[in-house]
Symmetry: C2
Subunit: 332 residues, 2 copies
């Protein structure tokens, strides 16, 4: 299997980490956005495959190398158009999230996908972290009964972000870029569909990061009266012990599951007090993606989930921009 | 100072615990709601003051004993009307929260209060718990800079509640009864005013508790683009190590403060990693209330806060009932 990487901005690390386990190799690298510098990435890729080529134009790369898989990881505002170019060539796509930064671009990607007959997945790689995978598996196995209420958190250090983060057009917004993971957990843990969202975000106190929002919250009503909220911030102090502080708390009819600090905690009738779960070793998202491409399994992240959660994030952003609640299926 | 207690339903324990430190005594006890049994409470009160009297009609008690202070702690749907009777007699009121269970009754209480010239406070006693008081004091002293994002949690065991919890008319709803504490923390920690709320609640899986909602979430937009959310559940397993699991996480421009498990944790540039604060010993809410009545201090819970937070809780309930966002000042 031949893989091309377009862009060096997103979580291409998922690919570099797993590529050796996939019977595939990276054969080409190109920028996906204007001004994107892929030299450091190309040096890393060459260390893995000395035959890999660098291109200035990713379309030319796709036409010349005819890869099986495109890894799309350029500036977020360009993800959709690059993905469409790959899909139109019947190339499988492993894309940075969000799949698109506007609802109309998302619609265009979905149309291209439905014609292409290939696999596509967004980089919801946090699903594969042992704490999340273990907690999800246990919840799916019924340890907390039926899921009723979810609270999820994304907290990041801001540091100094590249310039393209400062512009909604190139960045897409903090709810679609950061919050989308937590929105994904809400959907993934609950198994429910989104009915409405009310969200807020603010770029006040963003330390000269232009339009970038540093705080946000989204509340979702889901099917079966399941309720969820997602809080997001970029205000984690720079000296904090980790870059991020991902959490989810899932309240069910028979217990409560929490993921926090890289651990999974269960409180239910089977245990006296709060019980830390033994973590399953996580497999890698890119290995899993490639297994599905080879027809040897099913990636935890489906194309449907990738589109659906991207749409939820974009509708949440719309709600926050307009200060009104948005009903899924009515407003988008 | 002479105190009468009306009702035995709410947190009268605040009063019994502190009464000996207040140079006051409980001189009378009466039910405030139909069917309320105050015999056990009366026995406790008699152990403190053998002269205390029991009455069947609280109005008769107020007229006969002419107390300085009425503790109002009957069924929640009757709190407002009992409070009004006390205020009309120029009696200070220490009331179970919420102050009222309807917006019109709240308006009536505020009118009676403004004429009475006495003190009134709601039982926002969790403010006085050492973890909350210590965290609030530190936040007020600037350890996390300016508050930007808050997430608060109330999680309770359901157990078997009395029948009056099963009816909205007598109970008032879970957002005004349980969630109100977390709504209070949002206002108290941020110092901001509420602008809008979007909320949801559900009584599914409430184990034969009629209309009682067992899950809820409220998202608030506040002044200065501060964002907050409050999640509430009654699904804490019965074998959990504590009755409740109160939490608040306050994200500021310079750090993050968390209250969880009875502790207060600070993450900011002054500490390497997360730092547990030494807890201040909490004073009691009723002692503090009585000090203000005597003109010797100011209760942490003002009448204004009591009314304001009750109104916020009732507007959140309205939002949840109607599935729409509510703007403060427009819709109520």
């Amino acid at each position: 299997m031949r893989v091309c990487v377009i862009g060096s901005t997103g979580h291409v690390g998922y690919v570099l980490k797993d590529i050796g386990k996939t019977e595939a190799s990276i054969v080409g690298v190109a920028p996906g956005s204007q001004g994107e510098d892929v030299r450091a990435l190309y040096a890393e890729v060459r260390a893995l495959n000395s035959q890999a080529k660098a291109f200035a134009d990713y379309r030319q790369m796709l036409d010349e190398l005819k890869p099986d898989v495109a890894v799309v990881t350029c500036h977020f505002g360009d993800l959709a158009s690059v993905t469409i170019e790959a899909l139109q060539r019947q190339i499988h796509v492993f894309s940075e999230k969000p799949i698109a930064t506007t609802l109309s671009a998302l619609d265009d990607v979905q149309k291209a996908y439905s014609k292409a007959g290939v696999h596509l997945a967004a980089m919801f790689g946090i699903r594969y972290e042992p704490c999340f995978l273990t907690a999800w598996d246990a919840v799916r196995n019924g340890v907390i009964g039926q899921v009723r209420l979810l609270t999820a958190q994304k907290s990041y250090k801001l540091g100094q972000r590249p310039d393209f983060f400062k512009d909604r057009k190139t960045y897409g917004g903090t709810i679609p870029w950061v919050g989308i993971h937590a929105i994904d957990w809400v959907h993934w843990f609950s198994g429910e569909q989104f009915l409405s969202v009310f969200a807020a975000h603010s770029s006040l106190h963003n330390r000269n990061h232009g339009e970038l929002e540093v705080t946000a919250n989204c509340q979702f009503n889901l099917t079966n009266q399941v309720i969820a909220s997602v809080n997001i911030d970029y205000l984690r102090p720079e000296n904090a012990p980790s870059h991020g502080d991902d959490r989810v708390r899932v309240v069910g009819t028979e217990g409560i599951m929490e993921v926090r600090g890289g651990n999974a905690y269960l409180l239910n009738a089977d245990n006296d007090g709060i019980h830390g779960l033994s973590l399953r070793s996580g497999r890698g998202i890119f290995s899993d993606f490639m297994a599905q491409v080879r027809g040897e399994g099913e990636c935890l992240v489906s194309a449907e989930d990738s589109f659906y959660v991207t749409k939820a994030a974009l509708l949440a952003r719309l709600s926050a921009d307009e200060g009104r609640s948005i009903r899924f299926g009515h407003d988008g």
